[in-house]
């Protein structure tokens, strides 16, 4: 190599008690490139970047900037060297304005007074230069998550960052916002900034990165250029084995309708109507996908169907039985399984053991209990069986649910729901936050359940997921079903319908 790269990390090793988080990792960044750091949850991506940002100190290894050895022992030192980081969880003060947040700690001042106008002026200037379109005087709690992320980027740029670390930046964004973020990244790149893009999503890495480094279990497995890289190849590098990105699925052979929703109207907490007359049917042995951007009434729709929210009007029939307005317990007893969208808050009691979590719906009845008397031994025995069957790793029946990784937590939820042999299964965001290997498992399992003859309602923000699993696709927009498509519809067509554009059967 003729010229030293802009930034070079060599032989970085970081040990935590019982874990080798980074094992002699080499990573370099060229001026003006987007270099993606790809790996599953826990592969060591964040550790490596936290070392670069001065939050951790490596046990071994060196960092060179422009060929000069560099010691970074605090975020302050990183910032001084022109390294900025946008964390997955934003560090903004909600009640302060954009400009105030950005200048926090480096306030321009006029004597002893804060010169807010100068601050706003500079923020506006940088914002325009990179096409960020952020209003400096807006309060943080009044702007969208996507905007808040731009504020974080601005914050780094304001402090003179030439190297930007973006930690899982799309995790919190809608597809539209993600698209806009990529535009911003490209304009940053055009201005000569260099970007490290951390992700576990294959598609977006292939879209935005110039080079990709794959981390697996703390080791840098390979660094490769985008050209020639494929999703399948990257998935194999990430997981260490062949991964099926698209599930094999036989054409559906739908039976009788098991779940019927008629003209359902549902209100949210604030009393606003978020579902305005939704009707559809899900038949035995088919997967119906509901596609839509977050916040178009999906959550309320699911809650109404699963007995967690009382609908205003309309009807819900499960196997022909009217379940409208029944509670969660009645729904469970009527043969409805529910994989909830928030497994940590709703799907699991994190402080319960896995055995208790698996018994969460059935503990009232024999064999779990009799006359109010619980048989913990039986809970444990069943859990042992199910944990093995669903390949849950990282703990046994007596482990607390909180100790498991997201993918394994989700397996526990699925094991519980499926083992009750429901005729209807509602799966909301079943793969949110999971990595490739776990997603593969969940998808295969859902198809297997479909083949068992269950009626499956899948709600997801991920178009990929909807397209690869569903037999029929409904698009929800502002609380209405605005279109129905077969599974060979194009992603573009769905995308347009999801944002309120014209659907084939527009309402």
């Amino acid at each position: 190599m003729a010229e030293a790269p802009l930034l070079q990390l060599s032989g970085i090793t970081k040990r935590f008690p019982g874990v080798l988080a980074n094992d002699h990792v080499d990573f370099d960044l060229e001026q003006g490139e987007v270099h993606a750091l790809l790996g599953e949850n826990g592969a060591g991506k964040s550790t490596l970047m936290n070392i670069l940002y001065g939050l951790y100190h490596p046990d071994e290894g060196e960092i060179h900037l422009n060929g000069e050895p560099l010691r970074i022992d605090s975020p302050r030192a990183a910032i001084d060297s022109g390294i900025g980081m946008v964390h997955q969880h934003f560090m903004l003060i909600p009640v302060m304005t954009v400009a105030e947040n950005i200048v926090l700690g480096v306030e321009p001042h006029n004597g002893p007074f804060l010169d807010l106008e100068a601050a706003e002026e500079r923020v506006r200037e940088i914002s325009q230069r990179f096409g960020l379109a952020v209003r400096p005087e807006a309060r943080i709690d009044s702007i969208s998550v996507g905007m808040q992320q731009r504020v974080e980027i601005l914050k780094a740029l304001f402090r003179g960052a030439d190297i930007l670390i973006l930690d899982e930046p799309t995790a919190v964004l809608t597809p539209q916002e993600a698209g806009e973020l990529f535009e911003i990244i490209r304009s940053l790149q055009a201005e000569g900034k260099s970007i490290i893009f951390i992700s576990h999503k294959l598609g977006e890495v292939l879209e935005i990165a110039d080079r990709i480094t794959v981390l697996r279990r703390g080791e840098a497995v390979e660094t490769l250029p985008r050209e020639g890289a494929t999703e399948e190849g990257l998935a194999r590098l990430m997981v260490g084995r062949e991964v099926l990105l698209r599930v094999d699925k036989k054409p559906a052979d739908p039976g009788e309708p098991l779940l019927t929703v008629e003209n359902l109207r549902v209100l949210d907490e604030r009393g606003l109507e978020t579902c305005s007359g939704v009707s559809f049917e899900v038949h035995a042995g088919e997967i119906v996908g509901i596609a839509g951007v977050d916040g178009n009434g999906q959550s309320e729709l699911i809650e109404a169907i699963t007995g967690l929210r009382r609908p205003e009007s309309g009807r819900i029939l499960a196997r022909g039985r009217d379940m409208t307005g029944e509670g969660a317990r009645e729904c469970l007893e009527a043969g409805l399984g529910h994989i909830p969208e928030d497994r940590q808050r709703r799907g699991l009691v994190l402080d319960f053991t896995l055995a208790e979590n698996i018994a969460l719906h059935d503990f009232r009845e024999p064999p779990d209990s009799k006359w109010g008397w619980l048989f913990p031994r039986r809970l444990i025995d069943r859990a042992k069986r199910l944990l093995a069957e669903f390949d849950v790793r990282g703990g046994g029946p007596q482990t607390l649910a909180a100790a498991l990784s997201g993918g394994n937590q989700q397996k526990v939820v699925i094991a519980r729901e499926v083992s009750r042999d429901p005729s209807i299964l509602v799966a909301a965001q079943p793969t949110r936050g999971l990595d490739v290997g776990a997603i593969e498992f969940v998808h295969q399992r859902l198809v297997a359940e479909q083949n068992e003859g269950r009626a499956i309602l899948l709600v997801s923000f991920e178009l990929d997921e909807i397209l690869s699993l569903s037999d029929r696709i409904l698009v929800i927009y502002e609380g209405r079903i605005v279109g129905e498509y077969s599974r060979d519809v194009s992603e573009e067509e769905l995308g347009i319908a999801m944002t309120g554009g014209r659907g084939t059967e527009a309402a």
């Binding site: 935590f16 008690p17 988080a21 826990g42 469970l332 009691v349 394994n408």
Partner: protein, 395 residues
């Protein structure tokens, strides 16, 4: 797969650490630290902390368990131990009253009120129904106290379940209703005042309603300690072996997940506070039928047993075994520092009572600061490795 074995192993270790070691370490460290600081204060007041603590320990009667303590000292120790155990019984029960609600995610500050209504209910039964066989009379008086306590706690429970009134506010208000209600009943000219017109005191319960004395006479240790121990077992069994306990714990850990599983959050709020109240009410009858036998209006201003019960529940980390030891500690501390136990030459009794209060407060403070203690402990381990920080968390 979806997780890195190393990462989840670390998480497992942390989990194990905080649930096992942390579970014992924190209360023990908190107690030790409290005694240490208490000792410093003793030293500042110009006394020898070691002699003071020795005297306090002797005053608790716990030295009775040492086989080499003989003769007169042993007799004195027996007397002291009886007092410690008498006090321990209601401390266990009021501790359970706080702990049980806590397991459902509720903070029951109403133990004192529940204690007093239980006390009054038992007093009413104990001063009526003359001529009943003793076991029946005792049983009825105790049952009345449990019921009354449950009603008192249940009122706060219903308010929480139906209109969402915060249990901290309502239980405090119910405390005052119980205190002023009791004052009204037994004050001079009150409807249930006892035989002496000039003394604001209730009647004494009939002998047939008294709990059996089992050891000593000053006053004697009564059967209440067995009732308290039995209640501890009931507590553990309800929580761990019944569907009711399963629901209560589920609601306590995650109301949202409980609701999703078809568990009624409102119903469990009500039940948890009612059962908590039952424990506190039982504490009232144990005290009444065990050694008080009547109540003086003045007692309403000096008895804070259920507030010490909060300390017991916190130090015991709401576990049955923890509550047992915490109740023993606080009972011993109170008896050991009471004025009649201490030799003024060694340590001024008035100071000793303050010292007991101070140590109690410090224990609570440090238990509350458990995160801090755990943090220091872990930071120490990490520092030894020359680094501070945690591995990336798997979301």
């Amino acid at each position: 797969m979806a997780y890195e074995p190393g990462t989840s192993a670390t998480k497992g270790v942390t989990e194990w650490f905080s649930s096992r070691i942390g579970g014992i370490l924190v209360p023990v460290a908190a107690t030790a630290l409290a005694f240490l600081i208490g000792g410093l204060v003793v030293a500042i007041t110009g006394n020898n902390p070691v002699t003071a603590y020795k005297a306090i320990f002797a005053g608790t009667g716990l030295n009775w368990f040492f086989p080499w303590v003989t003769g007169e000292t042993r007799e004195a120790a027996a007397n002291d131990l009886q007092q410690t155990l008498i006090l321990m019984a209601p401390l266990i029960l009021t501790g359970l009253a706080v702990a049980f609600a806590f397991r459902c995610g509720l903070f029951n500050i109403g133990g004192q009120g529940q204690y007093w209504v239980g006390f009054s209910a038992a007093l009413f039964v104990g001063t009526h129904l003359e001529g009943l066989p003793r076991p029946l009379h005792v049983f009825l008086a105790i049952a009345a106290s449990i019921l009354a306590g449950a009603v008192w706690g249940g009122i706060a429970g219903i308010l929480k379940a139906t209109v969402g009134a915060h249990e901290v506010i309502t239980t405090i208000m119910l405390n005052w209703i119980a205190i002023f209600g009791g004052t009204y009943l037994y004050e001079i000219g009150g409807p249930l005042q006892g035989p002496q017109e000039s003394i604001p005191r209730s009647n004494e319960v009939f002998e047939s309603a008294e709990l059996w004395a089992i050891w000593g006479s000053l006053p004697a240790l009564h059967a209440g300690i067995f009732i308290a121990l039995f209640a501890l077992v009931v507590y553990a069994v309800i929580l761990n072996r019944t569907t009711l306990g399963f629901e209560i714990r589920a609601v306590g850990f995650s109301p949202e997940a409980a609701r999703y599983s078809g568990i009624s959050v409102a119903k469990n709020y009500f039940l948890a506070l009612a059962i908590a109240g039952a424990f506190a009410g039982l504490a009232g009858s144990v005290d009444l039928l065990g050694f008080k036998f009547s109540v003086d209006v003045g007692d309403y201003g000096t008895n804070f047993i259920a507030f010490t019960g909060i300390a017991v529940a916190l130090l015991g980390r709401t576990r049955a075994v923890g509550i047992l030891f915490a109740a023993l500690l606080f009972a011993a501390l109170e008896v050991g520092t009471s004025t009649r136990q201490l030799d003024p030459e060694v340590f001024e009794p008035a100071l000793a009572v303050d010292l007991a209060t101070m140590i109690q407060a410090l224990v609570i403070f440090f238990v509350g600061a458990e995160l801090l203690i755990l943090y220091i402990w872990q930071a120490r381990k990490l520092l030894r490795r020359g680094s501070v920080g945690e591995p990336e968390a798997t979301p």
